[in-house]
């Protein structure tokens, strides 16, 4: 009798085969495979739609700044430039603020305040981008045009960055909206990272006489620096891919203005504004080419962030 029990324990699946188990396993596995297929299908379909533009322009598409439906000449340079400038500028504004919020929520805030303030910061991420865009174009943009941009222009106009004419749409308003979107993402990840720093390390630094800031700079930030990089990359991916709010705020013109008051366009924003009404088949295909570039950017960003996170997990041994 005891031997029977032993075999049962040693080979539970073999000994007891159930059709229900198999069915659940197959259906659940199919769901997981479906997600992988979707991802592959997205890449395939976008490449397929872009094929006409790919064969017409090749890699020259990336270095040409022409976008002309009349002559059927298209290039992505200005849009890549616009995407890079708006995303990087938004990151420069957002990352210090977001990490500071993460530190506040993890190290400084009184215990009773942590949950509500953390929730409010996360609610900021829940506001739909079209609502932020509406607010941006009708309230923040006019405010920037009337107050902030003239101030920057009058006082720092000798710097080319601030030399243009104030406008309610353009690079600066678009960057501000992107900043609002990126801050909550980076803030909540950095809060989790700072929470994960072992408290004996923190206590040790404090016991050695560090101020709280020295503890953060000397112990906490070095501990989580790789994670912070991943958080920044995820913020970047969010900023790169935002179409709706940016298309409302950026002005939608080609060019690479030297002033942050100037209007430009990004990959995602041009897709939102032109894909539906494209004049020629080649224009539609060129827009799909833009989507392909955007997809590659966001895949690279997300993969590298995931790899960093995985490396951290492995180092921590969890």
């Amino acid at each position: 009798m005891s031997t029977q029990v032993e075999t049962e324990i040693a080979l539970p699946r073999r000994a007891k085969f159930h059709i229900g188990d198999l069915a659940l396993r197959v259906v659940a596995g199919a769901a997981a495979v479906l997600v992988a297929i979707t991802l592959i299908l997205i890449a395939y379909k976008v490449t397929d739609e872009a094929s006409a533009a790919l064969s017409a322009f090749g890699l020259g598409f990336l270095t040409s700044s022409e976008w002309n439906a009349v002559t059927n000449q298209f290039g992505a340079l200005d849009l890549i430039w616009g995407t890079a400038v708006t995303s990087l500028f938004a990151l420069i504004l957002a990352v210090p603020i977001a990490i500071a919020i993460g530190l506040f929520l993890s190290e400084l805030a009184p215990r009773r305040l942590r949950a509500p303030v953390g929730a409010l910061v996360e609610l900021l991420a829940a506001i739909p981008s079209v609502v932020l865009g509406l607010w941006g174009i009708l309230i923040m943009g006019p405010f920037l045009e009337a107050h902030v941009e003239p101030f920057l222009h009058d006082n720092f106009g000798f710097i080319p960055l601030f030399s243009g004419t104030p406008s309610n749409v353009g690079l600066l308003p678009a960057c501000m909206v992107l900043t609002i979107m990126v801050v909550p993402i980076v803030a909540s990840i950095s809060r989790e990272l700072f929470d994960s720093v072992p408290s004996d390390l923190k206590a040790g630094a404090l016991a050695l006489g560090s101020t709280r800031w020295e503890m953060v700079r000397g112990v906490a930030i070095p501990q989580v620096s790789a994670g912070l990089v991943a958080a920044v990359i995820l913020g970047l991916a969010r900023a790169l891919g935002e179409a709706i709010a940016v298309s409302m705020m950026i002005g939608g013109t080609l060019g690479r203005p030297s002033s942050i008051f100037g209007s430009a366009d990004t990959l995602a924003a041009r897709l939102a504004s032109q894909y539906q009404g494209a004049a020629t088949a080649l224009q539609t295909s060129s827009l799909a080419y833009l989507a392909l570039i955007l997809l590659v950017f966001s895949l690279v960003a997300n993969f590298s962030a995931q790899l960093i996170v995985r490396r951290i997990r492995r180092r921590l041994g969890t």
């Binding site: 997600v35 379909k45 739609e49 981008s129 409302m248 995931q306």
Partner: protein, 295 residues
């Protein structure tokens, strides 16, 4: 004796500077948190102030009137958003929960890690690219439809639901699973009668959060359900109006009445999304506490 100074109480200039830097940094961090909360308040208050005057019963119960006339509402958009988000939820919840079950019950650690990676990457695909994908896959040749839009929205929802559900399933105490198996239940039966009921609070939370996200998405609808009539449709093979698209289109209109509509629609959408966000958060805290108590 009187000239002697306790070395521990001496404040050197260096110590004063270190303390000053520390205090400055703490002030900056606090200010950053206040800034984020203030921005949230500014957005919420200004949308409410602009939107409230245009909100009345007609806004919810009437469809838009032809250009130039006054009155009317966004009933068609509200119904469209509810139907399309609902269909997307019907697709995304089973798929997401099944993926979570696969990862926690059946997959080897390496495979589970792969699935997680794919989910995270899918979550990172820009929603406008998803819109173009669905357009090429389903709209070309068939025309726009609420179904196509829902499938697009479900692609946004699946990673959110799968990841959050997996987290809750991992919280379910192993002793419950072992007890189910020890009673002679099969793995499938244990999952369905023991594990899922324990985790149902978490799955509901994940669903609410995902619905809040999908209801506010504009980009997946832009090419899949944007050419619609000004009347209520319940035919899912037709394009439907939606609240996000109403805001997007009306915000670019020079007409003050259209901008009014955009503000009021934004208020309805934002209120819905924020309330769902708050409920989701409260529920998730409760579920976590409940499961921890069960441990």
């Amino acid at each position: 004796m009187s000239a002697e100074v306790n070395p521990l109480t001496v404040v050197t200039p260096r110590a004063r500077r270190r303390k000053l830097v520390g205090v400055m940094m703490e002030v900056i961090a606090t200010a950053a948190a206040i800034l984020a909360v203030v921005v949230l308040l500014i957005v919420v208050v200004s949308v409410a102030r602009k939107g409230l005057p245009a909100l009345n019963a007609d806004f919810f119960t009437k469809s838009p009137v032809p250009f130039g006339q006054t009155g009317g509402g966004i009933k068609n958009a509200i119904i469209g958003t509810i139907i399309m988000t609902g269909m997307a939820t019907l697709i995304a919840v089973p798929v997401g929960v099944l993926i979570a079950i696969f990862n926690t019950e059946f997959a080897s650690p390496a495979i589970a890690e792969m699935v997680r990676l794919v989910l995270n990457v899918l979550a990172g695909v820009p929603t406008i690219v998803i819109g173009i994908f669905i357009f090429g896959l389903l709209v070309v040749g068939n025309g726009q439809s609420a179904i196509a839009a829902s499938i697009g929205l479900s692609i946004v929802m699946v990673p959110l639901i799968a990841r959050a559900t997996e987290e809750v399933l991992l919280l379910v105490p192993p002793s419950l699973r072992e007890a189910g198996m020890a009673l002679g239940a099969t793995r499938a039966r244990t999952v369905i009668t023991v594990i899922l009921p324990t985790a149902v609070g978490g799955i509901v939370t994940a669903t609410i959060v995902a619905v809040a996200r999908a209801a506010g998405e504009t980009a997946p609808l832009l090419f899949t359900s944007s050419i619609f009539a000004n009347t209520v449709t319940t035919d899912v093979h037709q394009a439907m109006a939606s609240i996000p698209l109403t805001i997007f289109v009306d915000s670019e209109s020079p007409s003050v009445a259209d901008q009014q509509t955009a503000w009021a629609a934004a208020l309805v959408l934002m209120a819905g999304v924020l309330i769902m966000g708050i409920i989701g958060r409260a529920l998730s805290l409760r579920t976590r506490r409940q499961i921890e108590r069960a441990r």
